[in-house]
Symmetry: none
Amino acid sequence: MVIDGLGGLPHPETGKTELESAQTPNLDYLAKKGICGLIEPISPGLTPGSGPAHLALFGYDPFRFTIGRGTLEALGIDFPLQKGDVAVRGNFCTMDNEGVILDRRAGRVSTEKCIELCQQLGEIKIDKVRLWVSPVKEHRFVVVFRGDNIYAELSDSDPQQVGQRPKQVVALSPQAKQTATLANEFIAKAKAILANSYPANMVLLRGFSQYPHFPSMSEVYGLKPAAIATYPMYRGLSKLVGMEVVDSGDSVEEEFAALAQHYTTYDFFFLHVKQADTAGEDGDFWGKVRAIEEVDAALPRLMDLQPEVIMVTGDHSTPALLRAHSWHTVPFLLCSRFCRPDDVLEFSERACTKGSLGRFPALEAMPLALANALKLTKFGA
Amino acid sequence: MVIDGLGGLPHPETGKTELESAQTPNLDYLAKKGICGLIEPISPGLTPGSGPAHLALFGYDPFRFTIGRGTLEALGIDFPLQKGDVAVRGNFCTMDNEGVILDRRAGRVSTEKCIELCQQLGEIKIDKVRLWVSPVKEHRFVVVFRGDNIYAELSDSDPQQVGQRPKQVVALSPQAKQTATLANEFIAKAKAILANSYPANMVLLRGFSQYPHFPSMSEVYGLKPAAIATYPMYRGLSKLVGMEVVDSGDSVEEEFAALAQHYTTYDFFFLHVKQADTAGEDGDFWGKVRAIEEVDAALPRLMDLQPEVIMVTGDHSTPALLRAHSWHTVPFLLCSRFCRPDDVLEFSERACTKGSLGRFPALEAMPLALANALKLTKFGA
């Protein structure tokens, strides 16, 4: 179970973090019965994005298995990406008569307007590829190209500053030349369509990336894994490592119900809870406390299922104090029949510091879980 | 701040290390406010020299960024090495009439004698290179060659035992052939000059090395770094990673004054305090205790400057009991507005064992410092 953004920083008045401020009798029980530590999501000092942070927890080295911006943006809107698809992040922007960019976000057009403009751009036809233009939010959208022999080694058209003209997309590898032509053709046609849509009269593209082929968790671990997540991006990340995504509803309550419902069909569950991170990003210390307490209150439903191994941690810290992801380590607990309990009596940053796992890379979590499920064979004779 | 040789071993009578025996209210305060751990300077069990130990603290992998003996010796006497210079460590030695070495240190000639002999050898002229012969201490000196197309892949002339003859310097790579000839020419001319200087009637050279080009801390971290150090070798190491060396005086007192004076000109300071290591090497347990207490007493001058991040550690341990550098881990503290304090209440080997950083490679210190100064961008989306 990943409580997104779990790690925090002390409240200036109480000296206690969000997790330390929360009433968490069930998490404390698991910490007491199990083993604890602090995970280093990516590398000491590095603040992780959600993509690499989750991949590390799934046991995929985030320096080796990388995901581009376009792909992650497409996953974030639940776009059903297929292997080989090239996705790119788009902005509607405002250009003057000379073609110079006045506003990279077209005055943050409304999401409704974005949907309407994306429908118009979706009419664009380009030889040999299928393409989709999908709205994200305000000025942001995603373009997905699907076809044979398309590649993502392409420069951005977005110069990332106003006062300049949009750039030509250039192939960064010989094999990507044809795709650069397609991308520029798309941009030219989009420009023509948007000519009278001031302030959103042009598009800027950045972060071309190809949907990667990662070995599945079934291939790597021999598991039949399922994902339970209310947010599209986490469902997309799960699919990337071969998890099946089950219908998870919209709330923590519904997520735990989904777990119970599908419990006998799979032998591994990734359960993602988003609310703690959202509160952290909003700088809402007590909202994050409540989000953690809500998870704790739901936990008996999970414990009733008597899983062989329970792991609880976060993908990264999101201290309300910083209103953002941070580099801080994240509390971790693992509970199984065969773990060797340490002296940790509660689940908190401070208590986990003294756990028997110490400070360790997130990448090591899956091997530990598999070992505790007696699913790993001996190494060597 | 590096307190050289900080880590120690317990006094046989009190069971407390040097740091544990010292009164250090200011270091304890920082430890209480900050996060603690124990650094592993290079690799478990490895006793580091000062060069690699400092490079690791600066964030340069000491197995990748290596410094030869000749270069380190030259840095140790403040010789203004330039990129490409080849430096080599020299000994005056005693040879018999047959050319066999009787004493590799020429009876440890006095430093005065060494200076005089180096002046004589400094008159040697060799085609196409400039050369310097600089005294170090007693029988030890440094030769620096500067010129085009000179290389350090050369064998030693020092056979490292008595009863043998000095060896010819041999090129260990094709490109170094010409430099081998120059080195042998230097040795022949030195032998002629020293013929009547018994017992110092010959030279032995070992550790040819070329002044390396390391990426600067400005390039790597985007910092404007300054070094404050009273000993030449540490100033030289600092220059090697692109720090500017400010006038640091001769005492701890003057070093902290230099820090205050230059505080607004730079955004990173390496402050090196040598005395604890010297006392450790002398086996002077209580001298090392006093050296640590002197640093602690000066610390408020640093704290008054309210740096965003303070790190205090040592480059390695120098237990008075061993009278030498050792492999033991070294207490480490980091204090910033955004660190997540652990339960450590004082700065000592024993207390740092329980810190939230655990035992960790010195190489991770700089990324942690940069993160706490909010100077690192997010990894991945």
